[in-house]
């Protein structure tokens, strides 16, 4: 009698646990399908240590059960950065992930993968990583005006353009006018504050003016000059 009862309870446990697995997976997937994320880079700063920025992730969730201890994780080229854990209820929750990258990443699209870890129904830990996308462009400067030139004297022209800083840049740099990758003229760039503009000027001989095809921007770092941006002047 006791034996039969125990075996019945055992079978019930087994059956219930199997059904529970499939139901949990089903409800969990339904809840997770309502989760949407928008990413935005904020407070970018460049110093001799690297590029520092905050990645702001807006998670919108409409699932039935709250996602407990939800922690957003950012994988940037094998480096992992994570936010602090919060409970994700219905609505929008903002997570801020402080990140730091090497200076060599400036001017490149960083392959990033956003993921999260949470506990579903406060019982089942889940870790999800979304497909890697190159959606984090590490840009610290951008052109703010067209390139113009005026006669400076009988032999040289004054070439100028305006740039805007997209980050607080605490390092100085140089901007080079080039022709087929060969430097024609260069000018210095001082450290810049975010959203400030800077007028750059070069003096170029008239015969070199037509040959100019790019402006290359470099940062002066402790390990040498690092190219951070290239502005093509002739259709590519």
């Amino acid at each position: 009698m006791i034996g039969a009862t125990l075996r019945k309870i055992s079978a019930a446990f087994l059956l219930v646990s199997i059904v529970a697995v499939f139901l949990t997976l089903y409800f969990m997937a339904n809840d997770l399908s309502t989760l949407r994320v928008l990413a935005r880079i904020d407070d970018m700063m460049v110093d001799s240590d690297g590029v520092h920025f905050n990645l702001e992730l807006n998670f919108t969730y409409n699932g039935l059960r709250p996602l407990i201890n939800f922690k957003a994780v950012l994988l940037l080229n094998n480096e992992s950065f994570s936010s602090r854990a919060l409970d994700l209820n219905k609505g929008t929750t903002i997570f801020v992930i402080p990140c730091k990258l090497g200076l060599s990443y400036i001017g490149r699209n960083v392959t990033a993968s956003v993921g999260f870890s949470t506990s579903y129904a406060n019982l089942i830990p889940i870790h999800v990583s979304l497909p890697a996308k190159s959606y984090i462009p590490i840009e610290v400067i951008a052109p703010a005006s067209a390139v113009s030139s005026i006669d400076f004297n009988s032999s040289h022209a004054e070439v100028s353009c305006m740039i805007i800083a997209l980050a607080n840049i605490k390092l100085s740099g140089v901007a080079k006018l080039t022709s087929n990758g060969i430097e024609v003229a260069k000018t210095n760039i001082p450290p810049l504050k975010r959203e400030s503009t800077q007028l750059l000027k070069w003096y170029v001989r008239f015969e070199d003016l037509e040959k100019l095809d790019a402006i290359e921007f470099y940062l002066d770092t402790p390990t040498g000059y690092i190219k951070i941006y290239e502005w093509r002047l002739k259709g590519g």
């Binding site: 697995v21 089942i124 497909p131």
Partner: protein, 159 residues
């Protein structure tokens, strides 16, 4: 000397048939269901992230027949069935159940199920499930033992 009369042959055949059915049932329970959990999870990812999925469809329950695994399940179940009703059979049955349980749990990566589908990686930790399965296993082992105590079973089976 054991005499094989018609009655005994019928009893042995019945136990072998029961063993085969029990082996098939165990194979479904401990092999096909854990395998299907992975397929189901992959399907769930494709429905949760339709942007990464191609065709979304519930996976069909197509039993994956692994002959070596199936043979082990059948042999152990038949042996348990033939020797049932004795303490020796109990030892065999407990060993078989342990093998099946360990096999299923190892298939499920000891409760940490990881699936990657079109770049989306999901890891679900079903440690609770493993605890429930283990509890169920212990209850089953105790239940069998109580059965034998109640029946005042011998160590060697009588077929």
């Amino acid at each position: 000397m054991v005499r094989l009369n018609w009655h005994r042959i019928r009893r042995i055949s019945k136990r072998i048939v029961l063993g085969v059915f029990s082996g098939l049932f165990n194979y479904v329970l401990y092999f096909i269901i854990p395998d299907y959990i992975y397929k189901f999870l992959r399907f769930m990812i494709s429905s949760a992230y339709p942007e990464v999925a191609g065709v979304i469809g519930l996976p069909a329950i197509r039993p994956t027949v692994e002959l070596s695994a199936l043979a082990i399940f059948l042999i152990l179940s038949c042996l348990s069935s033939l020797l049932s009703g004795s303490w020796f059979g109990y030892l065999i049955a407990v060993t078989s159940s342990s093998v099946f349980m360990f096999y299923a749990i190892s298939l499920m990566n000891f409760g940490r199920i990881s699936v990657e589908y079109q770049g989306v990686g999901v890891t679900v930790e079903f440690s609770v499930l493993i605890v429930v399965w283990f509890t169920s296993f212990i209850l089953d082992v105790l239940g069998r033992a109580f059965d034998l105590i109640e029946r005042e079973a011998k160590f060697i089976p009588t077929l």
